[in-house]
Amino acid sequence: MTGSSSKGGNNSYDYSFKILLIGDSGVGKSSILLSFISNSVHDLSPTVGVDFKIKMVNVGGKRLKLTIWDTAGQERFGTLMSSYYRGAHGIILVYDVTRRETFTNLSDIWAKEVELYSTNQDCIKVLIGNKVDKDSERAVSREEGMALAEEHKCSFLECSAKTRENVLQCFKELIVKILEVPSLLEKGPVIIKQQILKQKPGYQAPHNGGCCS
């Protein structure tokens, strides 16, 4: 089942994926996203709550709509968190290679969050070490990153949002993996919801309110 010709926006697409960026404050989640979405690179304010970006990409002849959720690094609002994770197809775990605690927090805090909230068992995870442009300040080695990725059975990449090195690959890696998992292709929560809603002409009825997180 696909969301073929779904009209979420102006564009049609074959699949719609929800991708989540998580990790400590200031590791560069928003920057990675900005680097991926637009080619610009500049300093960003701390994310408050959640930011969304949508990008249409073509991978393997399929038109994909990526809804990327860029979360705030401060784990504060549990109720929000659950809705971030709900139905995510892919999760990008980001740490800063120059700040070791952001790396240790991934396994101490963020991996647990994923386990706790993630609803897609097959959800794809990618571990990203950001800021490799600051190689002289590096505090986490590439090998350590790979070891952690292995431990959590996810792919690993090091990138730099600043130089855009490997940024596209991060997303590509994730998307290709998602496309390999049939269950994820069937579980498009957005699509399902849209289809349900399409069948209901009385869409403004309050029963939709139940979907609020």
Partner: protein, 492 residues
């Protein structure tokens, strides 16, 4: 460049560099020793204290003050925190600079006193969460006289000496028992326990509202893991503050000056300290920034900030449905009643939770409205003074409100008076815009400079009715069309 050093440098760096000139002159010979210690600290401390080492690395490059901070002053935090949750009084103490060496931070001290001085002199606070922070009896006179810290540095330092002693006792206990950072017995101060009772008294007086009633008073003496945890928790808080501060309003030249970053960090840290129930939370720096820009005096900025947070505090609570969640739900219901088309659209795209509006409400549209319009900041300040608010409303806002639709080319819908719709014309909102902003890869963050300040009229007027202003308009920013969708809801 600044980012790299400050970003991981923590408050210590900022504060440390601020008072460096004082320290350098007084205790320069300790530099080498401190370095050794801080290195040792980074080796000794494991895992959760790992960030010490990061700081130390930064600090050794920059200032002696920082070294002191990272290696020993951090311990200070335990005892202060352990013994109190107090406000202005301790704010001068917890700050890293005011270390056991007493070459500390006259400036901080001065600021703290200044804040008290100012507050006592001019402001009448409404009876809100903070109880009288300045009910300090006989010491007030003395405190105020410290106002000019440069002039009365000696006196100041002496004051600080007295005050610090009782902290240092606990401090060293903590540090020796748990973290092998402090080996500065030769610096152990003379015991001055005469302040202890007084401080406890202060503790009881000073507390912002519903701080959890944990028995912090004795935490220090219990020592062990709890205080250790508290140290690392607090350091983590400071860390998060600075990580955010250096990224806040970075486009302003004002914040190229590290001093201003330091000011912001200090104020946020002070607030996090006096209000442990909410601590530090992302978004605060956005709320604070206008005040830092607007006021030269940290105390003024702090109290304005504190005033804003009185309204906002619920948003930052750690547990349960926060204020913002409630507001979002309210907003959803309001939308349902006032704009069915928008409501239907949002329902259709599955945006019932209105996550996109979270930030708007959380930081009071700081990200949607531009800082460039200083009048925005003016409004914040104006809220502090009723008469000025009135004045602004009479003289400025009408013009600004009128200016909006003409410039924006979008539609404006303004609803006041419990949704009775005083102006219903132009009520067809551009859903196209909304859809765009939700569905395309448009940058959601509006960095456009735009005169939206007129919107603040209703926002700032203090009435007990519920007011909403809804504006949807589009602006041009570079080659991107940025749909700026603004919901403003104010439940006063």
């Amino acid at each position: 460049m600044m980012l790299s050093s400050v970003g991981t440098g923590i408050l210590a760096y900022v504060v440390g560099s601020k008072v460096m000139h004082i320290r350098m002159s007084s205790k320069d010979e300790r530099r080498g020793e401190a370095k050794v210690k801080s290195r040792q600290a980074s080796i000794d401390t494991a895992n959760k204290l790992e960030y010490y080492s990061v700081w130390n690395n930064n600090c050794t490059e920059t200032s002696y003050a920082c070294e002191r901070e990272s290696s020993s002053d951090s311990g200070e935090l335990v005892s202060v925190r352990g013994s109190t949750n107090s406000a202005a009084y301790d704010s001068s103490c917890f700050l890293p600079a005011s270390g056991p060496y007493n070459s500390g931070s006259p400036e901080r001290e001065g600021e703290a006193h200044e804040s008290q001085y100012v507050a006592e002199s001019y402001f009448v606070f409404p009876p809100l969460p903070v109880r009288d922070l300045f009910d300090r009896g006989g010491e007030n006179e003395e405190e105020c006289s410290v106002h000019d810290f440069e002039r009365s540095r000696q006196q100041n330092t002496r004051l600080q000496d007295n005050r610090m002693h009782s902290f240092q006792i606990d401090n060293n206990i903590d540090l020796n028992s748990e973290i092998e950072i402090v080996r500065d017995d030769d610096h152990k101060p003379v015991v001055g326990s005469n302040n202890q009772d007084y401080e406890k008294e202060i503790v009881n007086i000073l507390r912002i509202s519903d701080a959890p009633e944990t028995p912090l008073l004795n935490a220090a003496s219990q020592g062990g893991a709890t205080s250790d945890d508290r140290v690392s928790e607090w350091l983590w808080t400071l860390h998060r503050i600075v990580v955010d501060v250096v990224r806040t309003d970075g486009h302003l030249e004002f914040y190229e000056d590290k001093k201003n970053l330091a000011r912001m960090s200090d104020i946020l840290a002070v607030y996090a300290w006096v209000d442990p129930a909410t601590g530090y939370c992302q978004g605060r720096s956005d709320l604070l920034s206008p005040f830092v820009v607007l006021f030269e005096d940290n105390a003024d900025a702090f109290w304005c900030f504190e005033m804003v947070l009185r309204r906002m505090r619920e948003n930052f609570q750690m547990e349960g449905p926060t204020g913002v969640m409630k507001q979002l739900q309210a907003l959803w219901h309001i939308l349902e009643l006032t704009d069915r088309e928008m409501f239907a659209h949002l329902s259709r795209i599955g945006a019932e939770s209105l996550h996109f509006a979270f930030r708007m409400l959380m930081v009071l549209f700081r990200r949607e409205l531009s800082f460039h319009e200083t009048s925005d900041a003016m409004m914040w300040a104006a809220d502090f003074d009723e008469s000025l608010t009135c004045d602004l409303e009479e003289n400025c806002l009408e013009a600004l409100v009128l200016q909006l639709p003409r410039d924006s080319g979008g539609e404006i819908k303004e609803i006041t008076e419990n949704g009775n719709g005083s102006s219903n014309d132009g009520s067809q909102m551009k859903h196209g815009n909304m859809e765009q902003s939700m569905s395309e890869d448009t940058a959601m963050k509006s960095a456009s400079a735009y005169p939206f300040c007129g919107l603040t009229r209703n926002f700032w007027s203090r009435s007990d009715r519920m007011q909403i202003i809804t504006v949807v308009s589009s602006t041009k920013n570079g080659d991107d069309e940025l749909p700026v969708s603004v919901w403003r809801q104010f439940l006063s």
